[in-house]
Amino acid sequence: MSADTNEGQERKFKRIGTRPIRHDGLDKVTGRARFGADYALPGMLHGVMVRSPYAHARILSIDISQAEKVPGVRAVVTRDDFPDVPIGWIPAGSTGVDLGANARTVMAREKVLFHGHAFAAVAATTELAAREAGKLIKVEWEVLTPVLSLEQALAKDAPILHEGQETKGDHPTPEGDSNIANQVCFEGGDIAAGFEEADVIVEGHFETPMVHQGYIEPHACLANVREDGTCEVWCPTQGAFGVKGEVASIAGIEPSLVKVTPTEIGGGFGGKIPVYIEPVAVVLSRKAARPVKITMSREEVFRGSGPTSGSRMWARIGAKSDGTFVAVETKFDFEAGAFRGSPVGAACMTVFSPYNCENFRIFGRDIVLNKPRVAAYRAPGAPIGAFAAESLIDELAMKLDRNPIDLRIQNAVAEGDRAKYGPRFGTIGFKEVLEATRSHPHYKAELGPNQGRGVAAGFWFNAGMQSSATVSVNDDGSAVVRTGNPDIGGSRASMALMCAEELGVDVARVRPLVGDTDSVGYCDPTGGSRVTYATGMAVIEATRQVVDHLRARAATIWDIELDAVEWQDGNAVAINGSAEKGSMSLEDIARKMRLTGGPIVSSASVNPPAAGPGFGVHVCDLEVDPETGVSKVIRYTVVQDAGKAIHPTYVEGQYQGGAAQGIGWALNEEYLWDAEGKVENAGFLDYRIPVASDLPMIDTVIVEVANPLHPYGVRGVGETPIVPPLGAVANAMRHATGIRFHRLPMSPPRVLDALDSDGASS
């Protein structure tokens, strides 16, 4: 769809921007909605993964003979049951894909690379029997020294995780095998001259821990390989087509034989894009000739899925005394976990792109080590980089005695300004968001003792990618809209609203469906904040085609030219000299479909190359108890450009949910490791995500600067809200305590230590 179809600024919407009850809501408040673990088949076996007790070890041999003898056991599988998919990095977008690494993440081949890495799986008539059998699998290990920190990974004599892995990417790369998988560098202007010119320089070293997406639903999968080799998979995933491709590649099946049905999904945040158990359930089912279900425990979720990178960062900003940025520079080291692919590239692309600055050098390294392989987590990399950048901008504002929002407005990018990674921004709403924040009552409210206020900004590119939609008209004039994007936060309602807007009918007359891989056109995953934008575009386009059919049917019935029929809010209206024909409702036309040409069904596909970045600014008020180091967010406001809010309730929900995740990351969440590389807090008791009593209401302001790339002006909204909170909370902590924290999380013991030692250990 071209830019000239944009009506986001002028069009008067009837249904877009309203707040109907979501179509799938009833099933979700009554317990009827079926999530991943809720599926079962007759004769189903229970599958369990068998996981490594070592963080780094070579597998010399595996003996499954004793395990196979356990009563009830029907299949035991190891690397020998999977094809050897070659390791090889295929660049894609801001990162890339490595099918061999994906295969080895699911089932270890040469080595186990993190504690909890699966190296076998068992299917049995009971879960207990499967677990017992798992314990009887005999492995001859060559235990290797684990690489458990960035320092260890970069040491001269560091054990190498992947023999033959040479550093890819920009700038002088180390010679020979290296744990540095990739380097990225964006440069512009003259960095030395820039800092020379600066009146003020702020700089700092920052650290963030590995954290998990923390979705409440553990991974689950039911697979059934049938006698003819066809294979059905049910699983909670962000993208069923992705699962289909990965299952085919990793299990060694023709893709055409695989059908994936996405179940309801209990949270993902990026972590349910990759596969972990699906190909294994398929291979177990193939071997046992029975349906197999695998459900991860919470502990397995923490050890064997997700998380996002821990990081070590250095950054500095040089500015003129009037506040103008003249040079920015970073060196970021990100933990990739067991295989290349940390989001350091996206962190580098986003970190200083909200601000104009001619002289820059943004450098980052993607480093493998013996920890779980990272997966996407909501705006991957951007919150980490923004923590460093936004902390430093706050320092700069203090040094220059400037209002932190004014300082950001002074340097903020606008349409036509160049991002650090190359392209120029189109229409964006960063300044509008900053101005809306400055005039918000929260920003002007008084603070009490031991309280501080922090502000931080952030942005995310948002994705376009491929989507398909099919709209069909029922003979009562209602409609069905089908897409392939799992509904992870209310997107069915958004799809139905866009369809209803074009048709001119009540949204309750449109039923939105999420189809399986055999019943809908290809859709890339629900991710990249892309569904309302790209899949929405396909829905609008398909519905417009349906409207053209409806007009044509009316023209046939009236026996007038198509041009003489206009579609007005659910009715065909005769114009251009045929006005005496009057109008005909969608219902009337639908009832006569069989007489006028048969069913009306239209499909559309889109592949928009770009989306339209979303900018957000957060304001956080924090109160710190100096006796205990416990801090509490007492007020929080999210201001963000949505382009156009289709269903404002679920836009607000994204703002609030992203803020809450970011607050958890800032204040409490972190993986804790023992000396052997085992996660010590693999449960929700010790990996503490925010609970209701930790948070205040989270105020939201939806700014709407229409995105010219979408017919209604939509921008993605899902990811941007997690970008600013780390900086916003850290800046609030600085103003509440006088201490600048460079290391997350700012948990009570750390805060207390810092208070007791006058900030020395922060």
Binding site: E217, G266, G267, G657
Partner: protein
């Protein structure tokens, strides 16, 4: 090993099932009884997704042995609505959009019903602390708390 036979009452209906001594009540609800509205998020009592009411008390069903249900009264999400009529809590969850993915929703609704039964007019803080045993990763709790407080108001009006 011989199975245990358990007689219990679930959502007002007399029910019997067979279980092993190791099965949790959650296992039996979701497995043999096919009542999958009660969700499993952790099996360690930390997330609240499996909340049920046992003899009038809010409990995580993952920490109750199935055999302990003998002779007791169990209430689950499937029994919350009154026939075809949603409760005020369920209705307010819909009105407020107090769910995104929806996996935590059954547990929250069970817990919120219990809160309002014990305390028909909770403050925001009381609601937040009562529901602190239920984890939600999507919403930031804002709309959940608003839904519960509004449901309390609706219930008070209905009962006035």
């Amino acid at each position: 090993m011989a199975k245990l036979r358990v007689e219990t009452t679930i959502n007002g209906e007399e029910t019997e099932f067979l279980c092993s001594g190791q099965d949790s009540l959650l296992d039996v609800l979701r497995g043999p009884l096919a009542m999958t509205g009660t969700k499993e998020g952790c099996t360690t009592g930390d997330c609240g997704a499996c909340s049920i009411v046992l003899d009038g008390r809010l409990v995580p069903s993952c920490l109750v042995l199935a055999a302990e249900a003998e002779g007791r009264v169990v209430e689950t999400i499937e029994g919350v609505a009154d026939g075809q009529k949603l409760t005020a809590v369920q209705q307010q969850f819909l009105e407020h959009g107090a769910l995104q993915c929806g996996i935590c929703t059954p547990g929250f609704i069970i817990a919120a019903e219990k809160l309002l039964e014990k305390n028909p007019d909770p403050t925001e803080e009381e609601a937040r602390y009562y529901l602190a045993g239920n984890l939600c990763r999507c919403t930031g709790y804002d709309k959940i708390i608003r839904a519960v407080l509004d449901a309390a108001a609706v219930r008070r009006e209905e009962r006035a």
